[in-house]
Subunit: 219 residues, 2 copies
Amino acid sequence: MASENGMTRREELLAVATKLFAARGYHGTRMDDVADVVGLNKATVYHYYASKSLILFDIYRRAAENTLEAVHDDPSWTAREALYQYTVRLLTNIAENPEGAAVYFQEAPYITEWFTEEQVAEVREKETQVYEHVHGLIDRGIASGEFFECDTHVVALGYIGMTLGAYRWLRPDGRRTAKEIAAEFSTALLRGLIRDETVRVESPLGMPDVAGAAKKAPA
Amino acid sequence: MASENGMTRREELLAVATKLFAARGYHGTRMDDVADVVGLNKATVYHYYASKSLILFDIYRRAAENTLEAVHDDPSWTAREALYQYTVRLLTNIAENPEGAAVYFQEAPYITEWFTEEQVAEVREKETQVYEHVHGLIDRGIASGEFFECDTHVVALGYIGMTLGAYRWLRPDGRRTAKEIAAEFSTALLRGLIRDETVRVESPLGMPDVAGAAKKAPA
């Protein structure tokens, strides 16, 4: 059954719970609060979700599935196109549902308390796929000679932090669109900030000793 | 009074509470839990901290002060040196106390529930200073011609997410030291990933239409 705004009851319930979890935390939100805000009695809420943790898991599953769709790669792209496309789609997702992203990150340290082992395994599996995609496309750029050598592991983790971390401040009605922000992020990473070609390649950090360390640091 | 490992009782209490808050969340940790793990009775714990929220505030204040120390700028540095130094000091701090950083970020959405208005204002003031430092040093690089034009606001927020977000995976005993990771992060942002100078400057995103958008997007 669809409500006035075209969402099903279940979707409405999920949207309300997402906002409450984002604002008060999963631990700080009771099923009663969800029922109150959505205007249903608790029995009806339990009809849709047999437990509070199943709501949280649904938020997790949807966020992870959206992110996985965003990381889809097209082998015909250059590595820089792939990085840009990843960034656009990820930031667009976040701008569309910042509360979902917030809940995902805010509850991440505690999910082993709320989820079954199978649920945790499903979450970890999807996170690994996202990491491997970003890692893989940087590797692809290095292999083709498009990118400089770097510690792909560290740079992938860093860029995931830069992009996914945008849930803290990215809003659908912000000054810049998700696509514009994605272009800024991708350009910053791909082109770098330094203008001067010699400086850029030979001493990006402004200190010869550390520039050497950055090029090839001992493991 | 110092305990066996040289920490005062208060420091020991703070260290234990930080670990518990990081693992279970502030909301999910009781003063009894802190007292149990540190091996003191609850009255003694309350002697050091009159409330649980004062422990959290102490964690916040210390993390913020360490971060502010890390963002100290030296006007004799080039902008790229300043960015590198910020990164090294910030990541070194995080590696030394990843649980403190975790608590800071995990509880951030809820601090208005636990802190007084004055405490919240103090936290926000320090966060603004950190943001302004990163923003300012990128601006300085643009003004001197060292850096390309970019949306400093967006790039500063992104780089703060990349660096501070490292609390999720940066560990004191990791494969790479904090300093090595800082060199990777700074190099990625300053030098960029793309090798070829023409491609890098003219079409970093691999798509002429969006490269133009990135250079100068409408506000």
